[in-house]
């Protein structure tokens, strides 16, 4: 009798416990559901659509009905005469953007941290975050307005100094410079936030000890602040390396003119123009997929190297 009831009781509590857990858990799943559905629609359904990269997509046949063509779209792209230009334009734009855009916020954060007066620091922070709230469209609009060869302030200044008007938005040589400079102007201030937060977390005792030892400000920067910023900086670098071939499509599209195509023609813009403008869906999906794979492999590789070298990694 006893041996019979004991398991029964045990099972009873187990079911009870399971029921109680489920009674709690179904609410967790309910709270998760909307986010999972949204991510499913906008991130996972497109993954299903990737198959058209290996097909010859015809709208009438649909995604599943279109015939397979194997790797034709990929070989077409890798063999195209503009392939090298697209790849190098995208890579160089991102590389230069990283080389300039990555260290500047760190430098700004360190310099800002040297202020002893809290009020001046707050004021400066407020100002340097402002451009972050300006849209890409307005940013590009400002470039067109200020740099206009006939009406723009910059060219007025150049001609009044005896120079020749420069057609900034039409000359390929200016595209990357303008792109990166405006990116820094807009976002370098905002990107200091992460580093400032790290710097304010440093134990004040370290500074006091350094002052007693007679360290100058420069030495404190070198020996206290930079070592504290290093791990987080490495992490940001890894994240950024994953987007060396990613495309700043929206900004490049705004800044592209028929004149500066030689440098402004990047993969993202090309995919947009060919894919949506000329309805070459399969071909551009193949391009997008190749770039995605390359980016994915890059970030994994950089992450792996970083873990080996400095034990800092994303995962």
């Amino acid at each position: 009798m006893q041996t019979k009831t004991a398991p029964a009781v045990k099972r009873g509590t187990w079911t009870q416990r399971f029921r109680r857990a489920f009674k709690n858990d179904w609410q967790i799943y309910l709270l998760l559901l909307p986010a999972m559905i949204m991510v499913f629609i906008f991130c996972y359904l497109p993954l299903y659509g990737i198959q058209i990269a290996f097909k010859d997509y015809k709208a009438v046949l649909g995604i599943t009905g279109s015939p397979w063509v194997g790797l034709k779209n990929f070989t077409d792209f890798f063999g195209a005469y503009y392939f090298k230009r697209l790849l190098s334009n995208t890579f160089l734009l991102n590389l230069y953007n990283l080389l300039w855009g990555f260290p500047i916020p760190i430098l700004l954060a360190i310099l800002l941290n040297q202020f002893e007066r809290e009020r001046f620091k707050k004021f400066t922070q407020t100002i340097i975050y402002v451009p972050h709230f300006i849209s890409t469209v307005v940013m590009a609009g400002m470039l067109y307005l200020f740099l206009s060869p006939t009406n723009g302030m910059v060219n007025h200044l150049i001609t009044s100094l005896g120079g020749e008007s420069i057609y900034f938005m039409v000359e390929p040589g200016w595209f990357r410079t303008l792109f990166i400079a405006t990116d820094i102007w807009q976002h370098a201030g905002w990107n200091t936030i992460l580093y400032i937060a790290t710097l304010t977390g440093i134990d004040p005792g370290l500074y006091e000890a350094a002052t007693i030892d007679g360290a100058s400000k420069l030495q404190k920067i070198l020996h206290i602040e930079i070592p504290h910023l290093l791990p987080i900086a490495v992490m940001m670098l890894i994240l950024n390396c994953g987007s060396l071939l990613a495309s700043n499509t929206d900004k490049a599209l705004l800044m592209q003119t028929s004149g500066n195509m030689a440098t402004s023609d990047i993969i993202g813009v090309y995919v947009y123009q060919m894919g949506l403008g000329k309805a070459q869906f399969s071909y551009t999906t193949a391009i997008g997929l190749s770039i995605n794979v390359i980016n994915f492999v890059t970030i994994m590789a950089v992450n792996w190297i970083s873990r080996k070298l400095s034990s800092t990694s994303l995962f």
């Binding site: 709690n24 986010a35 906008f42 990737i50 310099l111 849209s135 609009g141 100058s216 929206d250 995605n292």
Partner: protein
């Protein structure tokens, strides 16, 4: 006496450093502020003065004709209203959905590892523009207001920031106490987590709000009805084109009904562009300046842990 003197007097190297630092920041702040100032003064100056480059430090021949042109422009005003609606509705939805999921991810439940992977994977691998376009079109979302509100509803990055914030700032004791009192997850989320999440809500509002307000690309891809266009997409047509008697001028002159009105409109258009920038960006910047003390600290906390 001596100790006091030593305290006040900083080493020479430090003083030089401070002065250089100050000079650097003054120059940097001018670089940040001057272009913005230039836009404001150009927007209230006479077009001829702006075109000839005389407006450099102060408005010249004060005039509001640019703003008149902007406020007479029906399409611009409608797109402005559209943008306000898309931003408010989209941001509200995003914040609620993100917070609910973020809270769930701080609790233990069966299948948590899978759900985590499910979200994180999308940070590193996406379908790309074209597959997303085709799928959304086949879902019937093409050219709909609904798409403008729900697209990219959840940013996984923001989700992770919110999750970290909740798990580090809301003590687990509260959860245990609430459970003993018989609360379930939804009650606990609404009655305890939400009231304690003010800062992260502000941060999410800023992140989602800014990206929605500034997005022109989504509408460029998905919206064909001009009545549904958001502000930035319309602004693009006005601002981001080469100005050699182009669409932007005709954009404003379309409302002129005779030749004289036409030349006047083209003259106006030059200043109206500056006004467009002020009208579209001004509210966002002012909102930021007044709201910053509520969210900048939150952004810092979130960025550090996330």
């Amino acid at each position: 006496m001596q100790t006091q003197k030593r305290k006040v007097q900083k080493p020479l190297g430090d003083r030089i450093f401070d002065i250089c630092n100050l000079i650097f920041w003054i120059i940097f702040l001018i670089i940040i502020i001057y272009p913005l100032w230039l836009i404001i003064i150009a927007s209230v100056s006479d077009p001829d003065a702006v075109i000839s480059g005389e407006v450099l430090l102060w408005p010249k021949d004060f005039s509001m004709m640019g703003y008149e042109a902007v406020f007479q422009h029906q399409e611009l005003l409608r797109s402005y209203a559209n943008s306000i609606f898309y931003t408010l509705a989209g941001t509200a939805l995003s914040v609620v959905v993100t917070l609910m999921a973020a809270y769930s991810l701080t609790r233990k439940f069966a299948g948590k590892a899978f759900v985590n992977m499910y979200f994180v994977f999308t940070m590193f691998f996406t379908g790309g523009l074209i597959p997303q376009f085709l799928m959304n079109r086949s879902l019937g979302l093409y050219n709909t207001v609904l798409l403008m509100i729900i697209i990219n509803c959840v940013s996984v990055w923001n989700l992770m920031v919110a999750r970290t914030y909740i798990s580090t700032n809301i003590p687990d004791d509260l959860y245990e106490a609430a459970m003993i009192d018989g609360a379930d997850h939804i009650t606990y989320f609404v009655k305890v987590v939400l009231p304690l999440s003010g800062m992260i809500v502000a941060v999410l509002c800023v992140y989602y709000g800014v990206s929605r307000w500034n997005d022109y690309f989504t509408a460029l891809v998905y919206i064909r009805d001009r009545t549904k266009l958001p502000l930035q997409t319309v602004l693009r047509e006005i601002l981001a084109t080469l100005t050699t008697s182009t669409s932007s001028d005709s954009f404003f002159s379309a409302y002129a009904d005779n030749i004289q009105g036409m030349t006047e409109a083209i003259r106006k258009a030059e200043v109206a562009k500056y006004c467009c920038i002020v009208v579209s960006t001004g509210p966002a910047v002012i909102l930021y300046v007044f709201m910053q003390k509520y969210f900048v600290k939150g952004v810092m906390i979130g960025s550090l842990k996330g």
